[in-house]
């Protein structure tokens, strides 16, 4: 068995008296798609926030590509090769779509003050190269959208914002992509299309690993081989969707809520 790309051991995070993550053990194989499911408030998004360093873990360890990243700040986690989307869209709405994509590529851009002020010709070439690359990526998701890169993000519909957000996470060519409920605010068909596009990019990049938080079980069933079910911050089941969906504890966790 190969070493996993991401592995968490006994990961714990508390908010005041609430234990959002409770000694979670979790592993993700490289180049796989892992589904992360569970009822509302079961700790899925908190898991993303702790992995990406937005909230420090209270206990436990996170290893990524063989190195510990537990106490790294969000910036360092991103540089290590992890990118994410957010449950509620976090695009910079007044900025153009292109600007938003370049936010995702920040670590590869030359942002020294002096360079940006004085070396305008070189900067222009950098901008044009990045423009072509961004266009190519966006084209996979939606060709018409690729022609609208200079429009403000505020002007495009929700589904396109989701696409831009996914592209913003992909453009830096991360090793691990964390998708936090990409279907929120989208129809079933739109979600499936978005996932197909993501998988297409995964094929092209070869080796991209994805963790997907999703409430639409049909999406999970279709795109993941393995999934982990959380409840109250703990892992209650793990395996192929067909298996875990039959698990009595999982059924109870979901039914108990509805």
């Amino acid at each position: 068995m190969t070493t996993p790309l991401l592995s968490c051991r006994r990961l714990t995070r508390r908010f005041g008296g609430v234990v959002a993550l409770d000694g979670l053990d979790l592993e993700v194989e490289a180049a796989s798609v892992l589904g992360l499911i569970g009822p509302n408030g079961s700790g899925k998004t908190t898991f993303f926030n702790v992995v990406t360093g937005l909230f420090p873990a209270n206990a436990g360890e996170i290893r990524f590509a063989g190195a510990p990243i537990t106490s790294l700040r969000p910036q360092a986690v991103h540089r290590a090769g992890i990118a994410r989307t957010f449950q509620r869209s976090r695009l910079c709405l007044p900025l153009s779509i292109f600007d938003n994509l370049m936010v995702g590529n920040h670590q590869h851009l030359d942002h020294r003050l002096w360079f940006n002020l004085v070396r305008r010709q070189v900067l222009r070439r950098q901008i044009e190269e990045n423009y072509r690359a961004a266009r190519e990526l966006l084209h996979i998701f939606d060709p018409p959208l690729a022609d609208r890169m200079m429009e403000p993000a505020a002007r495009i519909p929700m589904i396109d914002r989701r696409r831009v957000e996914v592209c913003r996470a992909l453009i830096s060519r991360p090793k691990l992509l964390l998708l936090d409920e990409p279907s929120a605010g989208m129809t079933h068909e739109e979600t499936l299309r978005l996932m197909d596009d993501i998988l297409e990019v995964q094929q092209k990049l070869g080796g991209l690993t994805i963790i997907l938080i999703e409430h639409e079980m049909s999406v999970i069933e279709r795109v993941t081989r393995r999934c982990v079910v959380l409840n109250y911050g703990r892992k209650i089941a793990e395996g192929a969707y067909a298996e875990v969906s039959r698990d009595p504890e999982v059924r109870e966790a979901y039914l108990g809520l509805e």
């Binding site: 937005l54 420090p56 700040r73």
Partner: protein, 306 residues
Amino acid sequence: MSASVIAQYVMNGAMLGMMYALVAVGFTLFFGVLDIIQFSHGDVVAAGAFAGLAAWTLLTAAGVAAPAVLLLAVVLSAIAVTALLGAVVARFIVLPVKGAPQLNVLLVTLMAGTVLRECLRLFYPGGSQPKLFPALLPTSGWDIGGFHLRFDNVILLVSGALLIAGTHLIITRSRLGLAIRAVAQDEETARTMGIDFRRVVLVTFALGSALAAFAGVIDGLYYNEVFFGMGLLLGVIGFAAAILGGLGNLYGAIVGGFLFAALQTIGAVALPFASAYKDVFAFGVVILLMAIRPTGLIGERASERV
């Protein structure tokens, strides 16, 4: 240093602390219900002091001389004016920009405060100069080992404490307080519980501002002087005190107010500066405290590490 001098400093500090606490409680109440900072709060305080002064001027001109009547008029008019101003600010300045970027709320209240301040300076007769505030309380007192404990100071301190206790009772015991706490917890839930959100906000602003009116009157009575810019200083320090105690925390605001006054008083005694630098020192402390404890002394909310 003799005991009587120390007692004098303690008295000074207690008086300052009472004013700061009264202002800070307002900041914390507003933050509680709306998650915003009402930057014009300090200027509402000043307006209250001037309203009190105006009432005194009018009544003495009309021949009223009974100190009790005058005092009552001063306090009541200060409270009425600030409560009204607070509600007006909430209704026409704060609520319309609710949901706009935080920066806009900050700017619009700050500028509204400037409007208020400038109105005092320009339209109150002789308002551009410091105005004499009448001594309405008995200035006699007890002599305790060389320290003169004045009645007026004792009265101001006691009534300030009573006001704060009263506010505490309103917040924790009354239906209104329940509504305020519900809105502070979660606006949406409060709405679904049938609480009139708008009304609660307006009443909270009126209440918090009325408390500040008292701070303004104390300021006037204690220093025998009011100034159109006084709200700026009280507002900045009151806000700093509220932060120090943890915004949204009523007790914290009170503790923060007295703590700040203590720091200022000790600084004035212990540091070798001339007293001219006392305001420089006070603002320096504000900046320093923000650097050391940006989220206050009491409690720290979990926030993202960026």
